[in-house]
């Protein structure tokens, strides 16, 4: 009762007391809306707010990474499908297969085959050799002493990406996490009859999905890369099969011997290529 009594406004104050709450309310609304709009305007575009990486997704990725990293050698096949945009704007898929053999720390061999192309890639700890089996051309570039360094040098100096390098790098988890800004675990999914865990990561302008085999051997069964910043958001899909961690991989698999009649040609460096771009047309 006392409280109610104290809250009773004086009669002459009535118009004012009625006005104050309304004005205050209006001001507060304007202030709040302005602040929120201002906040939204300043934060939304290019916000530096990093979405979290799901701990389950991170743990599964790390488990896959540890499993591959501890393997001293392995072989695997992959079927690759990638979106290609024709001049008309129509999007089609081109496919090829990759047969990959890797032995740590410095041996790598891949054969890439499609209907019209057939290429070999050899790394023996000293050089990387490219072989065009259709036209029987090969080219060789010097390479650092470890596979990780060789991959980086090949990519940065010569524009060559070793196939499936995200899984052959010595620490796939560390390599991936250097780019990933968010990730989620989407749960169990079957890939070609194999029960897997589906993980989805984002690198911002690129999305990366990976399906990891359930059970004691958490190897990748499928990878999809979506290039969101390219026209048509093309995708690169790799479907893995025939994982083999048992068959020994001797040196001769990684040492390149030119086929009969093969011709050596040069390998263009990205820098010299760019320099050529600067001079062209002048």
């Amino acid at each position: 009762m006392k409280l109610l009594a104290t809250q009773q406004p004086e009669p002459q104050m009535k118009p004012t007391t009625r006005m104050i709450p309304v004005t205050t309310h209006w001001c507060r609304q304007v202030f709040l809306i302005s602040a929120l709009v201002g906040l939204g305007t300043t934060v939304a575009p290019g916000a530096d707010v990093t979405p979290p990486i799901d701990s389950q997704a991170e743990a599964l990725l790390r488990r896959m990474s540890d499993y591959l990293a501890q393997a001293q050698f392995f072989s695997v096949n992959a079927e690759i499908w990638q979106d290609i945009q024709l001049g008309s704007g129509q999007q089609v898929q081109a496919g090829r297969t990759v047969a990959l053999q890797m032995r740590r720390p410095n041996r790598f061999h891949a054969e890439l085959r499609s209907t019209r192309h057939n290429r070999g890639l050899f790394y023996d700890g000293e050089s990387i050799t490219l072989l065009n089996r259709v036209q029987n051309f090969y080219g060789r570039i010097p390479a650092p002493a470890t596979l990780d360094e060789a991959m980086d040098a090949a990519s940065e100096r010569f524009g060559i990406a070793l196939p499936l390098e995200d899984i052959i790098v010595s620490d796939p988890y560390k390599s991936a996490m250097a780019k990933i800004i968010s990730g989620i675990h989407l749960g169990p999914v079957t890939v070609l009859g194999v029960p897997c865990e589906h993980l989805a990561f984002s690198l911002g302008k690129v999305d990366w999905q990976i399906w990891l085999e359930q059970g004691a051997r958490p190897v990748p069964r499928k990878i999809v890369i979506t290039y969101k910043d390219e026209e048509g958001t093309p995708e690169y899909t790799a479907i893995f099969s025939n994982w083999d961690f048992q068959t020994k991989l001797p040196d001769f698999l990684f040492n390149f011997e030119p086929p009969t009649g093969a011709t050596k040609i040069s390998v263009a460096e990205i820098k010299s290529q760019n320099a050529a771009h600067q001079n062209w047309g002048k």
Partner: protein, 238 residues
């Protein structure tokens, strides 16, 4: 009452200050968004769907996130025109079968007649006949396939022409000819030297120069070279 009025005025002031503070931000955002897709795209509606940025990203073939930012092909400028006949030179190896009429070019091959739809051209006073990327000259009652004549101008590019950037120019490469856009048409220019193309001209002859393999087409040589890990051909003069 006085106190209440002061509170009211203070609240209004704070609200207005906050509102005023956000106005430039709101304006900037609106201006930015209209710049992205507003007036610029409205002024060139036909180009909008296929417009390329000056820097062409091209890395999807490589399939890596480790080097996701490495494989970016820097292009010298926006490709000025895109239509269904033009392919972008991707610097990568893809396996899509796209046979074109000019792939069947054989220098000196004769035919008794021309298909419907051929064009008659005059290049430096000489008559030529053009059909889907191949040029002919009359030999008696026959028509003989000849090398693409420099100076020939056509209204539309041959199907499957490949856009090749070099310096500040964009060439369109088809059937061994390099076209540039000019006055609403496409004119054949002398083969630029030092340009890399993803495929040889049709019928290019393999030769050996100083023990190295090369190819010859219409007086120009093409040297095979690995670019971004795949075989391409760089033009050079012997």
């Amino acid at each position: 009452m006085k106190s209440a009025n002061l509170t009211s005025i203070r609240n209004i002031g704070v609200g207005l200050v906050a509102l005023l503070a956000t106005l430039p931000l709101l304006y900037a955002q609106r201006a930015q968004s209209s710049g992205r897709g507003g007036s610029a795209s409205r002024s060139e509606p036909s180009r909008a769907p296929m417009q390329r940025s000056p820097v062409m990203v091209d890395r999807s073939t490589h399939g890596t996130i480790r080097h996701v930012d490495t494989h970016v092909v820097q292009r010298s400028g926006a490709v000025p025109h895109f239509d269904q006949h033009i392919l972008v030179h991707h610097d990568v190896e893809v396996d899509v079968n796209r046979p074109r009429n000019w792939h069947g070019f054989v220098f000196g091959a004769r035919r008794h007649g021309l298909w419907a739809g051929y064009s008659q051209l005059s290049v430096n006073g000489s008559p030529y006949y053009y059909d889907a990327g191949i040029y002919y000259q009359q030999m008696g009652s026959d028509y003989q396939a000849v090398y693409p004549p420099v100076g020939a101008t056509i209204t539309g590019l041959p199907d499957g022409a490949i856009a090749v950037d070099a310096g500040n120019l964009t060439y369109y490469y088809a059937g061994g000819a390099f076209y540039v856009q000019q006055d609403g048409g496409y004119v054949i220019v002398p083969t630029p030297i030092g340009v890399t193309v993803p495929e040889l001209p049709p019928g290019a002859a393999q030769i050996s120069i100083n023990g190295s393999v090369a190819y010859q087409f219409n007086g120009v040589y093409y040297q095979p070279v690995f670019v971004n890990g795949v075989t391409q051909y760089m033009t050079f003069m012997a």
